[in-house]
Structures are given as structure tokens and as C-alpha cells.
């Protein structure tokens, strides 16, 4: 059954079919039919899929536990930030929405890993005093939030290729990855920054190291497009290795 063929055939009968079928309709039709037809990975079935995938492959469990560790860090950070009472009313909706997602990510990964899940570590969100007023000074809090989100984006990206062994798990990881990027952009904007990362600008430096790449797939994009290095660097988020991520977050472990 080829849905596009059907639409093509309809269009022969009625050339205005695409005008008449509004977007909402098409969305209903395609999501209703095609999601079921193509995707065996409805979130509710995720645990079962994962159980099978990681039981067969240690790499998948390792990647998911790495992800779970980062999600523990983020979830507890937002939970404690909201509880601390320092987030102004204007920003609370963002924090609440982000907290909701990070807690959901923890539950999802933990549930899927089952007995293989790592325990939640104890955290020191001052990073041994570097961010001593993280729960009393909202600007410091925003700085840490941005660092966690931008790190999260780069961390998931760095693990994606290791998940080539399991398309289902890879898809789930990608679905988390883009959410972290949405969070990152919102926190950056809240701080008066661009939503995207320019060159390797930002603090702590380790979070942004190497993000200034100007070539992709071996192609020098400043030369190719004539656009600025700033624009080229912003157009891509670079991955971070597991080791680089651990170096960034280790100070936050108690």
C-alpha cells in the first residue's frame, strides 16, 4: 500500500486535492496510519524493545547508563533549583517544562535498563565551590543550566554512532537529543545569548571546546558558501566524546 500513490491518483481526479485536504487532516491521516505502520517504537513499548536490544549488546546498555547519569544530573538540578525558590515567575514555566522532560528521561531510561541501571550518584552542584551560589544566585543557576544542556546535546550526539547496532534505541536517543537542544536554546535566550553556539564561545570552556569547526564532511564551508566563520560554526553542534563529557561533569559529583 503506497499512500503517496493514492494521493497522486486522487490528484489526477481532483487537481486541487492538496488544497482541499488541509494540513490538520493530512497530519491526522499520516500520523494515524503511518506511525502504526512504520514505527514499532511507541514510547510505551520502549522498555520491551530496549530490554531485547541491550540484552544482546553491552554497548547499548553502556550508552544508556551514560545517558541516564547525565539525566540524573539534569533532573536533580532542575528539581532543586525550583525548590530553592530563586527562579523568578517569568522563568518558572521554562524550568518546570525542562524539569518535566529530564525527570521523564530518567524514568524512561531507568525503566528500560531495569536491574542494569546505574544508581543515582550524589551531586555537588557548586562543582566544589566553582558555582558556590548556584541555588541562591539565579544568574549562576542559569549558567549551570546552560552548561548542562549544551553538554547534553553534545554528549548524546557523541554516542549516536555507537547505537548504529540498534535502530530502535538510536531513534529514542535522537528523540531525547533534540529535546535537550530545545532546552539549551531556551536557557541561552533567557540569558540574553543566541540560541546557537558561536565558535567555541561559552563557559565553562570544556563545554564548548571544539565547537568552532568550519569544515564538515571534509568540505570547508566558509570557502564553499562565502558566509562567515561565525555562521558556519553556529550551523553545526559538534559531538563530545564520553571522556570529554565526564571531565565536564565530574566536578558536579559529590
Amino acid at each position: 500500500m503506497n499512500l503517496q500513490n493514492i494521493l497522486n491518483e486522487i490528484e489526477k481526479v481532483d487537481a486541487d486535492v492538496y488544497e482541499r485536504l488541509d494540513h490538520v487532516t493530512r497530519r491526522h491521516v499520516f500520523q494515524g496510519w503511518m506511525k502504526k505502520a512504520f514505527l514499532g517504537t511507541a514510547p510505551l513499548a520502549f522498555s520491551a524493545v530496549l530490554n531485547k536490544a541491550y540484552a544482546q549488546n553491552n554497548v547499548v546498555a553502556e550508552v544508556l547508563n551514560f545517558a541516564l547519569t547525565l539525566e540524573y544530573l539534569e533532573a536533580e538540578f532542575y528539581n532543586r533549583s525550583l525548590a530553592a525558590g530563586i527562579i523568578p515567575a517569568m522563568a518558572r514555566p521554562y524550568y518546570e517544562q525542562i524539569a518535566k522532560h529530564e525527570n521523564a528521561h530518567v524514568d524512561l531510561l531507568k525503566g528500560a535498563l531495569g536491574s542494569a541501571a546505574v544508581m543515582k550518584p550524589n551531586f555537588d552542584f557548586t562543582a566544589k565551590g566553582t558555582f558556590g551560589d548556584v541555588f541562591t544566585n539565579v544568574q549562576t543557576n542559569y549558567t549551570v543550566a546552560q552548561a548542562f544542556e549544551d553538554t547534553g546535546v553534545r554528549a548524546y550526539k557523541g554516542q549516536a554512532a555507537r547505537l548504529l547496532v540498534s535502530p530502535e534505541v538510536l531513534t529514542i536517543a535522537l528523540q531525547i537529543h533534540s529535546v535537550e537542544a530545545r532546552h539549551a536554546a531556551r536557557i541561552r535566550y533567557l540569558r540574553g545569548e543566541k540560541g546557537w553556539i558561536t565558535l567555541a564561545n561559552g563557559a565553562p570552556q570544556g563545554v564548548y571546546a571544539g565547537d568552532e569547526a568550519l569544515s564538515q564532511a571534509g568540505i570547508d564551508l566558509v570557502q564553499l558558501t562565502g558566509l562567515s566563520a561565525t555562521a558556519v560554526s553556529e550551523a553545526f553542534d559538534e559531538p563530545l566524546t564520553r571522556e570529554a563529557v565526564l571531565a565536564i561533569v565530574t566536578p558536579f559529583f559529590a
Partner: protein
Amino acid sequence: MENQSNGHTDVRQMLTGKESAALGRRMFMRYLGVTAAAGVALSACQNEIVDPTAAARSAREGFRTIDFGDVGNNDVTVLNYAYALEQLEAAFYTQVIATPYSGMTDMERRILTDIRDHEIIHRDLFKAAIGSAAIPGLTPDFSSINFSNRAAVLGAARLFENIGVSAYNGAGQFIMSADYLTLAGKIVSVEARHASIISTLIDPQSRSFAGDDVIFPSTGLEEIRVPVEVLALVTPYIKETLNGMNVRRRA
């Protein structure tokens, strides 16, 4: 899924000026009924591979049909799929900056210019990387978008960004090469950043930057779309007909 669809209703109606979803659904069922009676739906089902002549006839007057082949059969088809989406986005933002909506603030112009440049860079990268196997340049059709109206432009921008993110999220599973998978990852997170900021411009003090319409609240997972869904959504904005329906996930 219902709440996800509903979240887009306003934007979509703003873009199209069309009537309610319920009416649309009824009309669609009517079309299915009409075409089934005429027997064409049955013949469509039998065409596992799109008949190029039939597809060409369905293309808009004077515009060709572009066949991706099997998206997922090899990485070039996935890259061409991404190239098509980036072409659409680059053309859209180029128009946005060329004919700014009334009341565009300096900050909005800076943001939209940044995004335009990012999309041009993505587009040109794919074109160069694919080389001689690249699909031709597409002809955008933005006639349904009122570029002088802020809400219409930002609504369309959000639609395109959300489609883009869901498309990359859904295409990752079709990519075979680690390098290309990582490259797609480098791009999709920037598209997600765009989506977040555009949503923020539309609805500043809200949760829409990562709203429940695009992120499943119970799992914190963003929506995904497979090529057949994405191509149907972008069809109204491209004059050529895009065929990329035969999805095959790598084993």
C-alpha cells in the same frame, strides 16, 4: 497523538485559512470514497514502485517529479532527502529576509538572518557532499504564506523547523554510515535550537519552546516522522512532486 495534532491547529489554519480539522477529515473520507469507487485507490495499492509516468502526470503543470528512490536503501538517498528539506528552509528564510514582515524588530531580523545563513550552509553542504548524485534544485511555492504578516511568517517557520527536527529524528535509523549519522546529528540539534527560539518569538513566556505538542509529556521524547509523512507535509510548499515512499530500515 491527538494533543500533538491539536497543538498545530492554529498555525496550520493561520497558514491555510482552511476550515476545521473535523470538516477536513470528512472531506478526506469523501475523497477516499470517491476514488475507491472509481477504482483508482486499488490501482495505487498495486504500484509498489511509483510509475514514473503516472507520477509525472500528477506533478504540477510544468514541474518535474523527483524520485528519491528508496530512502534508506543507501545513504545518498537519505542525504538527498535532507538536501530537499534544507533547500525548502533556505528558500523560505531567504524570502523572509528579502521581504521582511511589518514590524520586524532588529532582534528578530538578527535571529532570522542567522537562521537563514545556517540553512544555506546546510543546503550547500549537502549539495557539495552528494555531488553528481544530488537531486535538482527545487522550486518553492510559498504562495500560501503571507510574508508581510509576522504571525504567518513565524508560524510557517515553526512548522518548517518542527518538520525538520522530526524528519531528522526519523531518518537517523535509515543511515548506515557513522560519519553521516553524526553529521545529521550535528544539524538536527541546530534545527531544534531554531524551533525553540522561533516558538519563543511566537509565544514568549510559555512552554512552547519544547511544548507538549511536539514532545510527548510522559516520556520527554520529541516527535519523529518517516519520509512518507514528511514529504506529504512539505508537498504544498514545493512545485515539484517528491517521491520517496519506499522506506526500508537497515537490518
